[in-house]
Symmetry: C3
Subunit: 480 residues, 3 copies
């Protein structure tokens, strides 16, 4: 391989001192070698990277920006090559000793899966915040909670089959990427050896990477442009937040905010940092409310950037039987309620208070969100809105409890069996009550998407489903 | 408060005669005072308004435009300050005596909820037309029809709860905004007193405003840009017309028209008035067919602007058991059929002719629509299209009747009870037959959205549902 | 009529030699006559055509383009008027003897329905490829397969009604356009006679045209711009590929590809030919993967253009009980399995190998697709992706078989009747198993649309439906 590298460097040097050398002086020699082949082998990747900020801005330049505009945060002394832009080699050859998927590739130690730990070299704060984000635990929380294991077993016939699982739940939750050996493949430049990965490809938010880190920045910042513009548009979030279990994007799309976004997105600026309310954007996207650093026209900070997505929301409104205050810790599989179940509430809805944020913290988070609303809405508007939202949380929890009581009675009367609480027809109706209908109503309330609270998986089904469950129970009790 | 006003005027005067005074000479002094604080307090609102026509065009200029380009219509002598642009104060302090939500705000009588009666000062014709629009009665028609009260009671468990109702049906239909007292709040400028409103916020089309007027122009012309561009794009209509009960936007999205709109919207002009067929736009949006003033290349009027949305449509194709000719009067809660129900048809489908437009008027309306079609389609295309649409109305009414007869039999045989005709499982299947499936098929036919007439809530369900209803009835009769 | 023509020519000549004559010298005299009236009669059509390439490029110019940029392919000697652009007359008066819908129109023999045989004069290769495309047989395959006739009869109550059928299945599959006589109509220029067409309007992919040809190029290249831009955007495909039976667009919309397309479509070039990966576009649309000529930055061909849409896909993943290798021949109604049914598989899933492409051809097709993927993805990414997809085909076929076995048992036990295998409640559940749920899971796998493989018509329903079918069978066997 050493020889290969030398030959490469020689061919490359000729290339380097040719007419395009000047333009490339900001690109590290290592990355230039990558580009030399990959321009031909994977032109799409290279072009996408060329369009990115990474290909144009050196770390030194990035660090010299004004604090509010800066997107990197790191002790620059720790980084070599501050005068170079961020290219292939800067990420894919970083700390090879940590990456189990690192392999010899034309004389370089290259790893396929760039992880948050790699991004952290420049984006320390974001990566640290993301660790507190529920999303970073989307894989472990799913796999280590025995209740979820039962739900999955009951819901998806073709599991356990790792490929199916990767194609379904783990597409969003993230896979565990493991090295299964090596494989030789014919390439444009002769036969080469690559690591054989399982769980790959995947961009899931809680992905377990070969360096043991959790998450994939590419979930929202797609390779290889890593465009802030894309991450700020709602299409990104729609990848995982569009199904009946979490219809956030659908609700946004029919909201007043969504309407204006779709109508006027071309007149908005999705690239500026900090992001100016009214000036850069006139309606919020998902990122505005949940993530981005927002300032007013005088650069007063309205809300700080956060990559802990629940930093501005008090209530967790989807995924489980009831809406509940957000958990303190992102590792929710560790929770135990009084009945010993890994849940943040009892089956009958009472909160497991010790694992959830308290009222003060809830208020603190909600106030952050309200500050954003107040940029364009009056106080009475905002209070009226949250008033309704809190009512919806209460009323939908009541509807979930009603469904739960029917199931509890069915178990008690022996017409259903709770050895797996999720696998029988009546239990699936119960699941749909909270996972589809109560969720939909809550998202509609949280984001102003009217029909998702009415006929589109909304209150119409919330009641009809109860009725069907009651009729079923009546029939079963009569005929048992 | 008087002192506050004086202090304000003083601070403001200094501000006024500073360097930016010149640029603001078209802005009334009152509005400048509003802006002085609100630029900081609600920067999003101010920026949005600044981007609007209201902030740039005085009434005098607006009135001087050529008739076809003019969007205001009013006796200008009735309006003071014709030389000023339309700013905060122009709308929010208009006729305070009429607004129950008017309150003292830094020396001004300000009302929160700007109503059609305020807009009418400049946009008289639109407001008068809108009164004939079914939408303007969306609240009263829902609340005053005893049949709807039963439907709502049967459909949505968590009503009556005003907050839930506002979050559900009334989000689109409009709330009744009432003043519940006063509330003191801390603001950037010290404690202030505001009216406490119930039913707020809301932009529903039939909103009952504190000045007793009906509707909200902001339903379609969102604050504070009041952009004609937004109102002309289909995203606006999608806010309320996307659910299974009224899937207009979804159908449009998969139609040929929708396809071309999404593909080429950036090459179209959504701002020009009058709106030129082929030149400004090459495919219709909702507004083209239902509302806007459309001209050909020589400014010949193809169709006049209307804010009575059914002025170009003969049939009401959604919402009730059967499709029927549009009602003459927008207050449909007053209708009574032979059975005494507030419906424009009998339960078995016969029209209550005296309350519905006659064939001549139907033809007149349909011809207006056809004229728009004929801008881009041949006569045989248009006739073929309407021929199919009329057939769809007939055949879907037959399918609704089939479902109705099953329910009627269930009532007669005593296996269901019509004290509330909407609350039992079989009755809900009946509702879905017309409210979801027949509607979907008709919208698909009216707008060319194929699968909404087939598998996507279409004819597949229209038949399957009948079958399930028949099986249910058979089972009930056998086991009763 | 002759006189009419002469008068016309006279008026027209005056017009011709006026100031705009020069600009129109590339427009044939015949087309100029069309335009003279139709500018007024159908301004939308004329404006749309004016914006097209057809109105600007002569055949001679089109033929002189470099091979990779050329979109016409024809022996230019066969075409008269190579120096003229392609206008109304060039298509609508072509070979009148072949068009049963040809009629006398102001002295010209005009036909309403322009067919692929007309387009073929310049676009020979595309039309020939399209004949091998399954889509071109969408009408005949639907109408001539006795099994489909039974499915349609069982599914859609209001058939046979030709108007309903045209409005439903045939909207996408294509109608048969027939001449039913003549009709006189009042026009701007007096009374005129037109042919009376049935099955019109329609743009379905397998339309039977009055010249007996099959298909409508306007399905994807809408009149009268025939814009390649529109055809290359996914909105076009969404017209027919969005329902629960074939949710391709929906899946694309939530995929990473879809996300980036929606976010960055304005920065992409949808007009360039050949289409450059990474440069013109950075993510695939439907056309990239299935149709377009794709090159790299050095104009190396990555994949050739094809209008046989399955030329790059090995598996047919929707429409029938099982996923199966693509058929060799596009006329699938001719297939017979061992049981004598017009199906490419047995009811129990075994392939009818003799009518399906073999493994070598499957590999050849899949490799074409992979070459496109490899433009932006590493080898291990692509292999991992296809590995999962093949697993999904297997596992969903297993789920379809499970449902089939329940139905087979129901038939055997006499609790359902297979005289029409599609018309009973249990049979409809079976249909939904493969037509909705298995399809959805496969599309999600093929295109990376996570929730369509999970809760949005995905694996959740795949299992729940089996459970409901089993419960039904159990109940029926117990009570029979």
């Amino acid at each position: 391989m050493k020889i290969f590298k030398k030959v490469f460097f020689f061919i490359f040097s000729v290339f380097l001192f040719s007419n395009i050398a000047f333009a490339q002086k900001l690109i590290s020699q290592e990355t230039q070698i990558c580009l030399f082949c990959h321009k031909t082998v994977t032109p799409g990747i290279v072009r996408d990277w060329e369009a990115s900020l990474h290909s144009k801005v050196t770390l030194k330049e990035a660090l010299s920006k004004k604090p509010l505009s800066r997107k990197v945060n790191v002790d620059s002394n720790l980084v070599k090559n501050k005068d170079k832009v961020i290219g292939c080699a800067e990420c894919h050859t970083l700390n090879p000793q940590l990456h189990k998927d690192s392999f010899d590739h034309n004389g370089f130690k290259v790893h396929i899966v760039v992880s948050p730990e790699d991004c952290k070299v420049c984006h320390l704060k974001e990566v640290e915040e993301y660790k507190k984000n529920l999303m970073s635990k989307a894989y472990v929380n799913l796999k280590k909670n025995p209740l979820y294991a039962m739900l999955i077993k009951a819901s998806f016939e073709i599991f356990p089959n790792k490929l199916s699982e990767s194609d379904a739940c783990l597409a969003c939750h993230g896979t565990k990427i493991e090295i299964k050996g090596k494989i030789k493949k014919k390439t444009m430049f002769g036969e080469m050896e690559f690591p054989l990965l399982s769980g790959w490809p995947n961009n899931g938010v809680g992905r377990i990477n070969p360096d043991s880190s959790k998450g994939a920045c590419t979930s929202c910042h797609p390779r290889h442009s890593f465009s802030i513009e894309i991450a700020r548009k709602p299409y990104t979030c729609s990848q995982c937040h569009k199904g009946p279990d979490v219809p956030a994007y659908k609700v946004y799309a029919v909201s007043k905010h969504g309407n204006i976004f779709f109508s006027e997105q071309n007149d908005m600026n999705f690239k500026n940092t900090p992001w100016k309310i009214g000036e850069d954007f006139k309606v919020p996207t998902c990122a505005v409310c949940h993530i981005s650093l927002i300032v007013d026209s005088n650069d007063n900070v309205i809300v700080e950037r956060t990559h802990q997505m629940n930093d501005r929301i008090a209530w967790r409104i989807f995924g489980l039987i009831y809406a509940y205050p957000h958990p303190k810790d992102s590792e929710t599989f560790k929770f135990k309620n009084k009945a010993g179940l890994s849940l943040p509430t009892e089956l009958t809805g009472e909160f497991v208070k010790e694992v959830l944020i308290d009222k003060k913290e809830m208020k603190r988070r909600e106030n952050k969100m309200k500050n954003i609303c107040l940029g364009c809405h009056s106080n009475s508007w905002v209070e009226g809105f949250f008033n309704r939202f809190h009512n919806t949380i209460k009323t939908t929890n009541v509807q979930s409890l009603k469904a739960t009581k029917i199931v509890l009675k069915a178990w008690k009367e022996g017409v259903a069996d709770n050895s797996n609480p999720f696998d029988e027809a009546i239990e699936k109706m119960w699941i749909e009550q909270w996972l589809f209908y109560a969720n939909s109503v809550r998202f509609a309330s949280a984001m102003g998407g009217a029909d998702y609270g009415v006929f589109e998986n909304g209150r119409w089904y919330l009641k009809k489903n109860i009725q069907n469950m009651e009729n079923w129970l009546k029939f079963m009790l009569k005929t048992k």
